[in-house]
Symmetry: C2
Subunit: 342 residues, 2 copies
DNA sequence: CGCCCAAGTATGAACGTTCAAATCGCCATC
DNA sequence: GATGGCGATTTGAACGTTCATACTTGGGCG
């Protein structure tokens, strides 16, 4: 960092102490244990703090307290191109909540070849004293490593590999899809098909289960021919949706595991000269900007709440062990799931 | 932060010094001024550093060096819904580059009612020693305040209000649109219209100028009826694009000031039972995920390069004053600007 | 042979804060 | 009137590093 001289040297705790005719420790107490300070002294010191514009020096505090009051959050340049700015949004919400816990967020981008090294490094340097994980993959090395080294962390996303670990918040995708099905039935669609990802991904399987449950709750039965799967690719999704629409009858709707799949469904609908909403209901997942732009109904993850919960879990006392939390998403209803134009 | 005991107390510089039979200062020199250390000593100390897994304590360094080697980056929960994920992407790239400068990035979210307070606070606490601004608005108070307090900063986006300040990187939107026009003409479209925002926004006006210049360079003249404007709203954009298409002849193309406007253009094209690309060319701006999903050609900002330049500017010597940099975007060609199917 | 210089290394102090323990003043109690 | 105790405040030390300076060693040179 280029060093330009600051206009004025920062005021330190000693400057305040001198000005208020007390010792440094008393000033420290005013800030950290105000109950331990006599009212008159308290007021006098606070006035001087304000007058001098004193702010404690973070590094000095961190050094002495042996904790940084910061959490690390990994950002990933590669995962960025796939759909969904959910994780970006999560970072923002994490940052918004941080001040309430007198903390801050340090972003870091590991070398893809050795992700753990980045965690080790940033932790050893004392820059953070915990992490918030996101985008936990199958056979993710991070949770195990962190646990083994007794590093505090919380994951946004279930820890599928380590069922004994309860330090996570996630969104109940199953409930979200279930709600989408209920909404579509309520809106008057007579059949509800599912367009998902190929079986095998925990998230995708969970969403599919929500669809099956939703059908069951609505008293509908699945003929078995009312689902299709596709990878996260627009053309492939469009083709899958076309096959699916060919098998579904009039007045059907499609629930999709992602907004991109839903976009494929919308194209398929239009290719058949039908109109989304009026002729075929479509609901996506994640409520990305694509959904907003296309007026696509979509299941929205409560990202801000997830961030709040993550902080609470991270700062909660270690015993009793924190309890994993599953948040319920909400449905953003737009034109593609309204059968009759309003 | 919940304090759980670390598995082992961190190794300090003194531990390394003892193990290598040298003084702490020599260890410090090994890390910071290796040229000042005798080869044999260097090697011995480095071996101990590796063996003990020593990493310097960031807070101690920051305290002593009087600088934090960190930059602050403001994230904004409101601005998030508009404007694509360009800024999220910029933050990621900023973070990726940070280690090369032995720095890191601290994210923070100011109270919207007093943005400056957040900058003052985070600066006074010594958490960062500079800032990277983004999303600089008209009559933005931040650049002025930072300059006045001699705080190092760089802006991603021109500082429209303060033409004398050169500490910014931006993307030459004008050149991007010019290139888009050239590409469309090359691809065989005979007319190129423009769908922009209402006049008055510096960014929008700049992009419109690029269109006009592009026409001129291609030897085309504007009949004056070949542009329309709309706010950043899909329905409004669709209507505007329909009006525009009504006035343009066969084999026309539309360059848009944003991907959302382009999305409106795509809808307008389909509403006229035409096919984007084959019948009407469309190019958007920002290459958001919407563009990728819709197979929309779009002008892409070189975000990673902007982040690199921002770091370089921030760390450059103060004299001579840094020179503002205008980066040239690239055109991502997809189906909507290919006249004949490949 | 003594002197000086440079390279290499070591020492004391400082950065700004909080912890742990000591001190001070005051009142209640015996 | 001495004693104990308690609330309020102060003092010394420590956190882990780097700056400024001092010291040591060996070689070149007059």
């Amino acid at each position: 960092m280029t060093v330009r001289p600051m206009r004025s040297p920062r005021a330190t705790i000693v400057d305040v102490a001198d000005a208020a005719q007390v010792s440094r420790q008393t000033v420290s107490n005013v800030l950290n244990r105000p109950d331990k300070v006599a009212p008159a002294t308290l007021e006098r010191v606070q006035r001087e703090i304000l007058r001098l514009g004193f702010t404690p020096h973070a590094s000095a505090q961190q050094l002495r307290r042996k904790r940084s009051s910061a959490v690390g959050f990994e950002v990933n340049p590669l995962g960025h191109r796939r759909m969904g700015h959910i994780l970006d949004e999560f970072l923002v919400e994490l940052t918004v909540v941080a001040p309430r816990h007198a903390s801050h967020v340090v972003a870091f981008a590991p070398d893809p070849d050795d992700v753990i090294a980045a965690y080790r490094q940033i932790l050893a340097s004392g820059l953070v004293d915990g992490f918030v994980l996101a985008d936990t993959r199958h056979t993710d090395p991070r949770p195990g490593w962190l646990m083994e080294h007794e590093v505090p962390f919380v994951s946004f996303g279930r820890l599928w590999d380590l069922p004994e670990l309860q330090c996570w918040v996630d969104v109940d995708g199953r409930a979200g899809v279930r709600a989408a099905v209920a909404h579509l039935v309520e809106a008057g669609y007579e059949q509800v098909g599912f367009l998902g990802w190929p079986a095998g991904s925990p998230v995708g399987d969970d969403r599919r289960a929500g669809w099956a449950e939703g059908l069951h709750e609505a008293g509908l039965t699945s003929p078995g021919s009312d689902e299709e799967s596709s990878n996260q690719d627009l053309d492939e999704a469009t083709a899958a949706a076309e096959r699916l629409l060919g098998r579904l009858g009039q007045g059907a709707a499609i629930v999709c595991a992602s907004d991109l799949l839903a976009l494929g469904a919308l194209r398929a609908v239009r290719n058949l000269d039908l109109e989304p909403g009026r002729d075929v209901g479509v609901v996506g997942f994640d409520d990305t900007e694509v959904a907003a732009a296309m007026q696509l109904s979509s299941v929205r993850q409560p990202v801000a709440e997830a961030a709040r919960v993550a902080w609470d879990m991270l700062l909660a006392p270690t015993s009793p062990e924190p309890q994993a939390q599953l948040l319920t998403p909400t449905l953003t209803v737009r034109r593609t799931s309204i059968r009759r134009a309003p």
